[in-house]
């Protein structure tokens, strides 16, 4: 029997309005404990206003082996925004 706790991915927000960014994962028996353990590990030194945790197994991901999923088979450079300046930074609402 696998007695290891399952893993939760941890997302950290340093300021309200900023995106939650993935910072790592924790082992925990359930989401509530995962939040507490994530607090000890990721919110103690980093400034933090909000944490999300999500069961790692609930994340559906692409397969690195399946490179063709992202392949660009024809020239799509016409789709790139080259003829105007895009602002570097958009203000958050």
């Amino acid at each position: 029997m696998d007695t290891q706790w399952e893993t939760f991915e941890v997302f950290h927000q340093s300021k309200r309005g900023d995106p939650h960014e993935h910072v790592g994962s924790v082992h925990a028996p359930d989401p509530q404990m995962a939040l507490q353990l994530a607090r000890d590990q990721f919110a103690r030194r980093l400034k933090c206003v909000s944490l999300w945790v999500v069961r790692s197994r609930d994340i559906t991901a692409t397969d690195y082996q399946d490179g063709s999923f992202f392949a660009q088979v024809t020239d799509k450079s016409y789709r790139d925004p080259k003829s105007f300046d895009a602002p570097d930074k958009l203000e958050h609402p």
Binding site: H27, P29, D30, Q36, L37, R39, D40, R44
Partner: protein, 266 residues
């Protein structure tokens, strides 16, 4: 605050009260730090190392209030005092033991500390009230952590139930020593420094008993009307400096670096 300050209470009694608070936090913090590198799971290793630093941080705050009354610095109290002069409860002296014992001890301690801090926010001694207000926020999360583990381990599997019950059997009578009456108990109560250990213990039982019984752990108390009656002997003695040899070893370890190089600064 409309309360008198300083209260009608001798400095010696206040010193004793502050020292008991500080020594409990220091010694338990040291025990928690012994899990660094040894906890059964990495996340708990980090959590207990974090809690250890918090508890030792709380002790520094209490030693500083003690210093205001005595001029003895926190470093003097921690690094040069003989273990026979400590007034921590015997409960916090015992070795860290099984992880289940650590979890149960931490839970019983966190609940007691939270209740004590809530009470102290209304203390007639203003520095105590202000400090309690500050520390209480952090202690709330300690309790969430330790209670979370108790609730998940108490009756999860045959093994966890057995180890948690053994821990409760050992820790519960010891933990009652946190409420050992002080020689200056009545003076502190009358002066409004705190509500007294009998009141605190009764509030503490109201909180810990339902949590432990909620996960089928047996505790030696019976309900008598609205009150709980104890069915075991509290392990007192610590406040009277009657310690276990475990404290001698702990203080020896704690002071060993200082003894090697008393003048060292870091």
């Amino acid at each position: 605050m409309s309360v008198p300050n300083p209260p009608k209470c001798s400095p010696a009694s206040l010193q004793m009260f502050l020292l008991a608070l500080a020594d409990d936090e220091l010694v338990l913090g040291h025990r928690d730090s012994e899990w660094t590198g040894h906890a059964p799971i990495l996340e708990e290793d980090i959590a207990f190392s974090n809690i250890a630093q918090d508890e030792i941080g709380h002790s520094l705050v209490w030693y500083s209030l003690h210093q205001d009354l005595t001029d003895a610095t926190p470093d003097t109290m921690v690094f040069t005092r003989s273990w026979t002069k400590f007034v921590c409860s015997r409960f916090v002296e015992y070795p860290k033991g099984d992880f289940a014992y650590t979890v149960v001890r931490q839970f019983l301690f966190d609940c007691a500390e939270l209740i004590r801090l809530k009470d102290l926010t209304r203390s007639s001694y203003t520095p105590l009230a202000q400090t309690a207000e500050r520390i209480i926020k952090e202690e709330h999360y300690h309790r969430l952590h330790s209670q979370g583990l108790v609730e998940r381990l108490g009756d999860a599997t045959e093994e966890s139930a057995r180890r948690m019950q053994a821990a409760v059997d050992q820790a519960f009578p010891q933990s009652l020593g946190l409420f050992e009456l002080l020689d200056c108990e009545n003076e502190l109560k009358t002066a409004g420094v705190f509500s007294g250990h009998t009141v605190l213990r009764s509030m503490w039982l109201d909180e810990v008993v339902p949590v432990l019984r909620g996960v089928s752990l047996k505790i030696p108390v019976v309900q008598d009307g609205a009150e709980y009656q104890l069915k075991c002997e509290p392990e007192d003695g610590g406040r009277k400096k009657l310690h276990t040899p475990h404290l001698q070893q702990l203080v020896h370890d704690l002071q060993s670096v200082h003894k090697l190089a008393p003048e060292a600064r870091w």
